[in-house]
């Protein structure tokens, strides 16, 4: 039977079903489709920032609104010897290093961070999976640390290097300056009126309140002011971005 023998209606139905089932995925995994999806992420970011106030504050809640139990997700405890040693000594000798495009590279202890002006905020944490939890975070605004180190005007992103590894690959994240300089973007050392618990990223984690949970790097060891993340790890700006193509901008 030659193709011309196939009744037109059957052919159309076949094309329809093919598109619907296998075709959709094949189209989706091609390089043009992937770059279209990458562009979509940038388009969403640009469009939202165009029509909304880019320094708008995330909603802050009352104590009564807090989740009775805040679920921990992702890495619960880094296995690396360095972090384990810090934990064993109550993070006494732990230091946050600040480097990259800064005038004064810094090394700050937990006590020094706690002595800086602090921000306490009760916010909602939204996981990319769909669930939400409301908790209270105590920390130092990232902007103050960047000012202290003298991040220069070439800085376009802030990189967070973490102590946790997933499958032997270190976790890291990057955010742009709109989020980095936002007043609610803090490095949190406390949660719900206590020290930051290990499953939530002790001793220090990022809160980037207008983005999904995977941007909120836990177990932060060092931060760097950078102008590009193309040459860092997989080049996509974060652990999940490299591993499974999660969108770099996680505002939606």
């Amino acid at each position: 039977m030659s193709p011309s023998d196939i009744p037109r209606r059957q052919l159309l139905a076949g094309i329809g079903a093919g598109l619907a089932l296998s075709g959709c995925e094949r189209i989706g995994s091609t390089a043009p489709a992937q770059s279209l999806f990458d562009a979509t992420d940038g388009f969403s970011r640009g469009a939202m920032r165009l029509v909304t106030n880019r320094s708008a504050l995330a909603r802050e809640y009352e104590e009564a609104d807090m989740s009775p139990r805040f679920r921990a997700n992702g890495s619960r405890e880094p296995q690396g010897a360095e972090w384990q040693a810090h934990r064993a000594t109550g993070f006494r000798d732990w230091r946050l290093t600040i480097g990259g495009l800064v005038a004064r590279p810094l090394s700050l202890s937990l006590d020094q961070l706690r002595q800086m002006p602090r921000r306490v905020q009760i916010t909602r944490h939204d996981c990319v999976e769909g669930w939400s939890a409301i908790g209270k975070w105590h920390g130092v605004p990232l902007r103050l640390i960047l000012d202290l180190a003298g991040a220069n005007e070439r800085t376009r992103y802030v990189l967070f290097r973490c102590a946790d590894e997933i499958g032997g690959v270190p976790y890291y994240e990057t955010i742009d300056m709109v989020e980095a300089l936002h007043p609610q973007t803090i490095l949190a050392y406390g949660m719900n009126d206590a020290l930051l618990p290990v499953p939530h990223g002790a001793p220090l984690r990022l809160r980037s309140e207008r983005q999904l949970g995977y941007k909120h790097a836990k177990f932060v060891m060092g931060i760097e002011a950078i102008d590009s993340f193309a040459n860092i790890a997989g080049g996509k700006g974060g652990y999940w971005e490299d591993r499974s193509d999660y969108d770099w901008w996680a505002g939606i």
């Binding site: 989706g28 909602r124 939204d126 499974s244």
Partner: protein, 280 residues
């Protein structure tokens, strides 16, 4: 009786009328692709956390009003809505794929992509959402401005009388469709359902979708207040998607019942072949 009498003669003559405008046809086929992608990828995203809540927060330790899950070591799937639980083994929660048992909420043949990937599902969903949202916005504005929505979709007063509506419900149930001049425009059930979908469900999908974006929550917190919190917005998103799915199923059944070739052709060319109504 009169209707049946008319049918007898009407088959002898056909007439071709201009039925659907270009904008309507374009938007229809854009939506076929966009909504198909949105529903499939939406089910993938739902599978990442197959529980729905009311209020601002909701996670595994909080009570869910709807959940799909498996138990008994992954041998039994179930759907629970409020206090009502239905066993769904083989379809929801637990199903077979390539000869092995899978434990996910919605089965692979309903999701995009078929092999679970939240990241890919989100990329399909957000791309299709822009296509759907922007084309919908243009269509709604144009059809309001040029009067199409009013002329084609707003029911006339006489059509809203209970007796008239009931008659149409009965005609629909008996798959007795309008002929002649009556087939040139939508009947009142069609008008009402298209109005509810286009000006109710579709905008609700966009609003509840934006209501789940942490960035939009900061910029436009009124969306959160409108639905009573992010998890409520997520629940409403799912409920409206279910209603749209139901609309699509009924719509397709009606197209099949009314003559699929004729109907699909009219949505492509704009011209509908209708049976000529002989004057009584």
């Amino acid at each position: 009786m009169a209707v049946r009498g008319r049918e007898g003669i009407s088959n002898q003559a056909e007439q071709v009328v201009r039925r659907h405008g270009l904008a309507t046809r374009l938007w229809h086929w854009i939506n076929v692709v966009a909504v198909f992608t949105l529903i499939g990828s939406g089910l993938t995203i739902f599978n990442a956390h197959p529980r729905l809540y009311w209020g601002s927060y909701g996670a595994n330790f909080d009570p869910a009003w709807l959940e799909i899950d498996d138990r008994a070591g992954g041998s039994e799937g179930f759907l629970r809505i409020g206090g009502i639980e239905v066993e769904t083994t083989g379809f929801l929660g637990v199903f077979e794929k390539d000869g092995s048992t899978r434990t996910r909420a919605f089965p692979h043949y309903l999701t995009i992509p078929a092999n679970y990937s939240l990241a890919d599902g989100r990329r399909y969903h957000l791309f299709a959402a822009w296509v759907f949202g922007l084309s919908g916005l243009v269509y709604v504005i144009v059809s309001l401005l040029n009067g199409h929505a009013r002329r084609a979709l707003l029911p006339r007063r006489a059509e809203l009388r209970p007796r008239h509506l009931w008659q149409e419900v009965k005609d629909h149930a008996r798959l007795r469709f309008p002929k002649g001049d009556a087939a040139r425009s939508y009947n009142s059930l069609q008008k009402l359902s298209y109005l509810v979908v286009i000006f109710g469900l579709l905008p609700l999908m966009v609003l509840t979708g934006l209501g789940m974006s942490p960035n939009m929550n900061a910029a436009w917190p009124w969306i959160l207040d409108m639905f009573g919190g992010r998890q409520s917005a997520r629940s409403v998103h799912f409920i409206c998607a279910t209603l749209i799915g139901a609309f699509i199923i009924v719509h397709l059944l009606m197209v099949i019942a009314a003559g699929p070739v004729r109907e699909i052709r009219s949505m492509i060319t704009g011209r509908l072949r209708i049976d000529r109504e002989e004057t009584v």
